[in-house]
Symmetry: C2
Subunit: 335 residues, 2 copies
């Protein structure tokens, strides 16, 4: 069965990448509908060379869709998720609205694809900082159980959306030309030539929602509700690809050679084995894989390691993961 | 006694700031000599409006100096440090050459000014990432003993030197004008719109020298040789001000209110008490103080906190700390 696919948020930063990844992977579709807010309706986008006019997201425009990808605001997800579910359609949602809903699987196919078996019409994909980390942790816990994880992130502005990319580019252009930097509207302070220790709003215990998402989503994906986890999320003036410094403490010895083997065996992960080699966000942009580099012992604990991991936040962090979920649903006959 | 002061490396990134800070603080000097390599000799710099011609660093040009600030390569420090010491002069060295030498105090005046008492002619100032962290840790250990510290840094390119600032600016200028980015010469890959998980060369245990400096220097400054410490140092496309995400574990309870009080009482530290408020590198540039922000519990350990700290790497991270040491030496009659 080839589904009729609708993309809500087709004109956004993730929507654009979604169309490219779907074309690259030749995702089977009977028909593709591109949807957005009324403001963007009428825009013409292209899929595999064919023009498609963006329609407003409405009951009428969603009526014939079998599979809906949603990358818009939480409000949009909440508006359409239950409506689609009631009609027996499947929504794969890039937003945070349903991620912690116990009736909604939160899935990275290489880690917990089996959670797709119990989906009820809505499937969430993780936050773009959670995905690379949960993949690396899933590989490592094959060697020894996880005890404690801390992370500090270096997050690209495209994680905020297309407007943030424009803001960074406009600031860089002004600095590059020696002109006054236009005042920020997306971020509270200038992001070009700067770093901001805040991603999303503040929440419980003075952590940001992004920091809590990383914790709660990692626990849910790994089915490890008691995992000790703390993160600090920082925005950096990079367009695409999130990077993270991670410390992992195991409950027992995790020999480095076995960790290497587990990471190399894990689908979707590239381990750069020489700990003196690494890749940077610019080098990972456009790549669907998660990179683990600079893996070395953390001797401040009995059984610990620290490493640098990266993934293209728009691809594996969003669009690619969503399409992989759809592929897996088709393979499992769950759509 | 007003000393005759010589600055080795006067034309470098720190040298420039040194002159500004010395003027601001009205550091007492009988005479000021600006020295550099033969390549820079003849350059005219200004101090408090007066032109001073840069001379080559030689025995002759150093002969009448009482106090020498050195911010150049390790080779330069090693060439002149022992020579100056033998002649009863005092060198305050910004480089790493002597920091771990047991005959050389490594000093942040607000933390371990008493170590100046045993100096033998060479005094080192800490690496620019060590200084803000050691200050914050020194405040916090008034509340409870430190057990374990981990840090991930966001380091400005001026820490590498003036050539790195030019490289970042040239790359930003090219990107801003839509031109091809000139190939990097200072860093192995483009730093504009990117982050690099390497500062300095790789060394023991696959940590970089910068990461080991942070550990070894913090232990020496705090007189805590067994402090468990691990860092990952990352370069970010920021001109000035290093930032760090830090996790601290204490051996016993460290109540948040007491930590606040200790940080507020510590000279040179600004605590931003509301954990939902913070400053960024652009806002700290030009400031002599160390900022501690986003201080909140780390509940992954029994007694832990995590926070964001920043300092202008050219001022408190280098020039200001050097001048404060000189002021302290004069006050203590140790020069």
């Amino acid at each position: 069965m080839e589904p009729t696919v609708a993309v809500i948020g087709a004109t956004g930063a993730v929507g654009d990448v979604f169309l490219r990844v779907a074309a690259e992977r030749e995702f089977p579709m009977k028909k593709l509908k591109l949807l957005a807010s009324s403001r963007s309706a009428g825009t013409v986008l292209h899929y595999r060379g064919q023009p498609i006019t963006v329609e407003e997201t409405t009951e009428a425009s969603l009526e014939d869709a079998d599979l809906v990808f949603c990358s818009a605001s939480s409000e949009v997800s909440k508006r359409w998720g239950p409506w689609l579910r009631e009609r027996g359609k499947v929504m794969i949602d890039d937003g945070s609205a349903f991620r912690m809903d116990p009736t909604v699987p939160l899935v990275i196919p290489e880690v917990n694809g089996d959670d797709l078996e119990w989906h009820q019409g809505i499937i969430s994909i993780p936050n773009c900082t959670t995905t690379p980390l949960a993949m690396a942790l899933n590989a490592m816990r094959q060697v020894a159980p996880l005890y404690r994880v801390t992370a500090a992130t270096y997050q690209a502005v495209s994680g905020t959306g297309a407007a943030a990319v424009r803001e960074l580019n406009a600031q860089v252009a002004a600095i590059g030309r020696g002109e006054p930097v236009p005042p920020p509207t997306v971020y509270p302070v200038q992001i070009a030539m700067n770093v901001l220790p805040q991603v999303d709003d503040f929440d419980e215990d003075d952590y940001t929602k992004e920091e809590l998402k990383m914790r709660n989503e990692t626990r849910k994906i790994l089915h490890e509700q008691d995992l000790r986890f703390a993160a600090t999320c920082v925005r950096v003036p990079v367009a695409i690809t999130h990077a993270e410094v991670v410390h992992v403490e195991f409950t027992r010895e995790a020999p480095m050679a076995q960790l290497h083997q587990a990471l190399k065996n894990h689908p979707g992960i590239v381990l750069i084995e020489d700990p003196k080699q690494y890749v940077t966000p610019l080098q990972v942009e456009g790549d669907d894989r998660t990179y683990v580099c600079r893996l070395r012992p953390d001797r401040t604990v009995d059984h610990g390691v620290t490493f640098w991991c990266l993934t293209d936040n728009l691809r594996k962090g969003a669009a690619t993961n969503a399409i992989q979920i759809a592929e897996e649903l088709l393979k499992r006959g769950k759509i």
